[in-house]
């Protein structure tokens, strides 16, 4: 019984911390994105609320909480209401297995990587749910695009993850990080990293692959009908999803929490981990504010004609190398 209470307390505290982290990440990224976008367009960005506008996102949060949650007349009430909540859940759940440092990890499953991939694919379902329940043609178009996009981009993501799994022989996140003690996998698998990053960009529905919410074509895509906190849950989920994609990239390719040793490195490794993740996120923002949106046929062509063949060849080469040079594996 004691054990049960302890476990429950652990689960609840993890859940609270992870959700709080999801929200904090949205605030940091929201501010960072607005500032970077502004700098790229040579404007100052938010400047009014607090020094350099650092309180802007908090004020926005208060405003959004104060907004009325409008449920339009002919929507599917139940689905419409639960879709934003469900959109948030699958992006927070994978945080359980993310190794922030050697000891800062909620749970180290031995199938952690597969767990993330499995849970993250629920995200598409919620987008379809939101698009369908909204009873709006733009929402439905956005949702349909999202499905096609996610299906075609999940394949290269999985194949490039498989390359790493072949090399390390484990799906445990902690195991993959530990395997990169000497060499980060980005040096051994640069092609897999590039493919993973591009496909991850598409998985998070961000520019230049933001077809599900293309403003100029679909008003706002699947969240056209959402207002107030329902809308902001989608936005927070998008940022959490970005964090997730970048943290997987960090774990798989950039050596996770490895870095210059700091005191109490079992915990402070998180500094390096977060630094790497946020650098990748900044690159994502940079890409968003550089490139225009791709057309739908270009999007699918890109995945099926370039990413998937290249990742398959990469997988094949990796497999052959591992079979031919078992010594290489020993060395890592």
């Amino acid at each position: 019984m004691d054990n049960l209470i302890g476990t429950m307390a652990r689960i609840i505290s993890y859940a609270v911390i992870l959700i709080a982290f999801g929200f904090a990440n949205a605030i940091i990224m929201g501010y960072l994105e607005r500032k970077l976008a502004a700098r790229i367009q040579r404007r100052p960005g938010p400047m009014e609320v607090g020094p350099h506008g650092i309180y802007q996102l908090f004020v926005d949060g208060v405003k959004i909480i104060g907004k009325q949650l409008i449920v339009p007349k002919d929507v599917d009430g139940v689905l419409f209401r639960i879709a934003p909540i469900l959109a948030f859940a699958p992006v927070v759940l994978p945080f359980i297995v993310i190794p922030f440092s050697q000891k800062l990890q909620a749970r180290d499953f031995n199938l952690g990587l597969l767990f993330i991939v499995t849970i993250a694919s629920i995200n598409v379902l919620t987008i379809v749910m939101a698009g369908w329940a909204s009873n709006n043609k733009y929402s439905l178009f956005g949702a349909m695009r999202s499905v096609a996009q996610n299906i075609s981009f999940e394949v290269p993501v999985l194949i490039s993850i498989l390359c790493i799994a072949l090399m390390t022989g484990t799906y445990s996140m902690q195991g993959i990080v530990k395997a990169q003690g000497n060499v980060w996998f980005i040096l051994i698998q640069p092609v897999a990293f590039i493919i993973y990053f591009i496909a991850g960009l598409a998985e998070t529905n961000r520019n230049p692959f933001d077809l599900p919410e293309a403003e100029s074509e679909l008003t706002a895509g699947f969240h056209t009908e959402y207002s107030g906190f329902g809308f902001s849950l989608f936005v927070i989920a998008e940022y959490a999803n970005m964090f997730l994609v970048c943290s997987i990239a960090t774990v798989l390719f950039l050596g996770g929490w490895h870095g210059i040793p700091l005191p109490f490195f079992e915990y402070t490794g998180a500094v390096w981990f977060l630094a790497k993740v946020y650098v990748l996120m900044v690159v994502m923002v940079w890409i968003r504010w550089t490139f225009p949106r791709v057309r739908f046929d270009q999007l699918l062509n890109f995945s099926w004609k370039y990413l998937i063949p290249f990742s398959l060849v990469n997988l094949l080469v990796t497999a052959i190398c591992i079979k031919l040079f078992p010594l290489l594996k020993e060395m890592l």
Binding site: L36, R39, I40, Q41, R42, R43, P44, M47, W286, I287, W289, T290, F291, K305, Y306
Partner: protein, 146 residues
């Protein structure tokens, strides 16, 4: 297959060029002016509201009360009065009312003035809560400024 790798090469190259451009833009100076706190010099050719030019020699206005500006004004926003003084030839300006609420800044009055007594000012911050603030007495202004 024709051009497959060339497309890949050219595409990647153009994407990297684009990212280079935005990267450079981050370090370039900002072009935004934080208006209420920061102001920039306006060009001297700006058409602000009218004002009466002060003559450098006589230290007063140059108006000869010919009434041409008031006659020329398409929206009748200028009203002026003159009085006869004994020792002065012609009439002397006693009142010059300029109603900015109907002025369209067409510049006919400035063009038609034979002595260049009126001109456009560089004043652009014109906002108020009452209509009366935009009815200017230009003669009073030029005399107070003396």
């Amino acid at each position: 297959m024709n051009g497959y790798f060339r497309d890949l090469y050219m595409g990647s190259k153009s994407l990297l060029t684009g990212m280079g451009i935005t990267f450079k833009a981050v370090f370039q100076p900002m072009v935004t002016v934080q208006y209420p706190r920061e102001k920039i010099e306006v060009t001297p050719n700006i058409r602000g509201r009218l004002f009466m030019v002060k003559d450098t020699e006589t230290h007063t206005h140059r108006c000869i009360v010919c009434n041409r500006c008031a006659n020329e004004c398409p929206s009748s926003c200028i009203y002026l009065e003159g009085v006869k003084q004994e020792d002065v030839k012609g009439r002397v300006l006693s009142r010059y009312v300029y109603d900015f609420t109907t002025c369209s800044l067409c510049g006919n009055c400035v063009d038609v003035c034979p002595v260049s007594a009126i001109a456009f000012s560089c004043e652009y911050e014109l906002a108020s809560f009452s209509k009366e603030d935009f009815i200017f007495d230009l003669l009073k202004e030029v005399e107070e400024n003396r």
